[in-house]
Subunit: 151 residues, 3 copies
Amino acid sequence: MDAEARLAGLGIALPETAAPTAMYVPAVRSGNLLFISGQLPSEGDALLTGLCGAERSLDEAVQGARRCAVNLLAAAKGQLGSLDRVRRVVKLQAFVASAPGFTSQHLVANGASELLCAVFGESGRHARTAVAVPCLPLNATVEIEAILEVE
Amino acid sequence: MDAEARLAGLGIALPETAAPTAMYVPAVRSGNLLFISGQLPSEGDALLTGLCGAERSLDEAVQGARRCAVNLLAAAKGQLGSLDRVRRVVKLQAFVASAPGFTSQHLVANGASELLCAVFGESGRHARTAVAVPCLPLNATVEIEAILEVE
Amino acid sequence: MDAEARLAGLGIALPETAAPTAMYVPAVRSGNLLFISGQLPSEGDALLTGLCGAERSLDEAVQGARRCAVNLLAAAKGQLGSLDRVRRVVKLQAFVASAPGFTSQHLVANGASELLCAVFGESGRHARTAVAVPCLPLNATVEIEAILEVE
């Protein structure tokens, strides 16, 4: 798979993964599964904050979900060395900080799903769950975790 | 295992699984684990909507959870060809759209757990997490995802 | 690994795991992965209840998360016989019942992460997701589920 080449073709540079804390880490591998910690829509020092359907529009939240996916890729690359070692995106779970009555969490999650399919092609298609939450750590707009199958 | 026979004995006909989108799919297999996307309480064109403890009673939500389980089975069958290839229900995660103060998410989830045990017997007993969420995609009342062990 | 010895050194006695219901169980093993049901901050008959940021302070919630981790260990031991058979803590998912505007779910989850690292050392470091929920079963303050890799 030429995931690295596709990522470059999209003009996306992955950030350094956040320094692991003493207690938890960006990703843990067990057998052929890589479990990636929930990623926030951060880019450098900036973090997308606020509730969808109130402070944040659907479009902003979709872009936030895409940014979560970039950070998932960064976490995976930090563990694997290269995204070309990813065999399959197995599952995403998306938590969308939502104002009452906002019921388009699935559309927000599409921002992440689309990027992963652009990078991994057919192997990027995954099982998925998207739900609302009343808030998230640091007031983030969206948080997404993933399970990948790796070589 | 005679899961297919038990399902027929319960008088349950599985729906066709929803046509996969370009981006995500009803279920992904990795090794002996089948990860099934979060399922809503839909039946044909109808979807159970509204918050437990407000628009929806506990009994209605329990029936909704049971319907989510039927849709989980349909997704599994779509992947496996036959439910008789299921070795074990490993885990359920239930998200219940809840009005403030509604704290019986575990009782809602029982609607799904009971059906899976009726279909798979002892192999249907699973690990489980049930939590409240403030809302769900399309205003659904409950969403449930699952991990199965398969042949 | 001397997890059992470390646990004893911390002065922690594990409770008996709750009697399984007819439908779901404290933990299910599949291959080398042990999936543990969401655990509440219960100790004997007592349960920590109420929302973080309202009825419960951050410190109380952190202690609640630690208690969830004790109950996760009890569930694991009930399945494995000994915690020395745990190879790695793979993933935690923490759901924190939160009042509007409370955005420190990650700090609450640290209460569980710290205990697991104290018991398992380097093997206790895990992938993690922490989110808010509007409420939880039985009005619990926090619920945490886990995936472990086992011998």
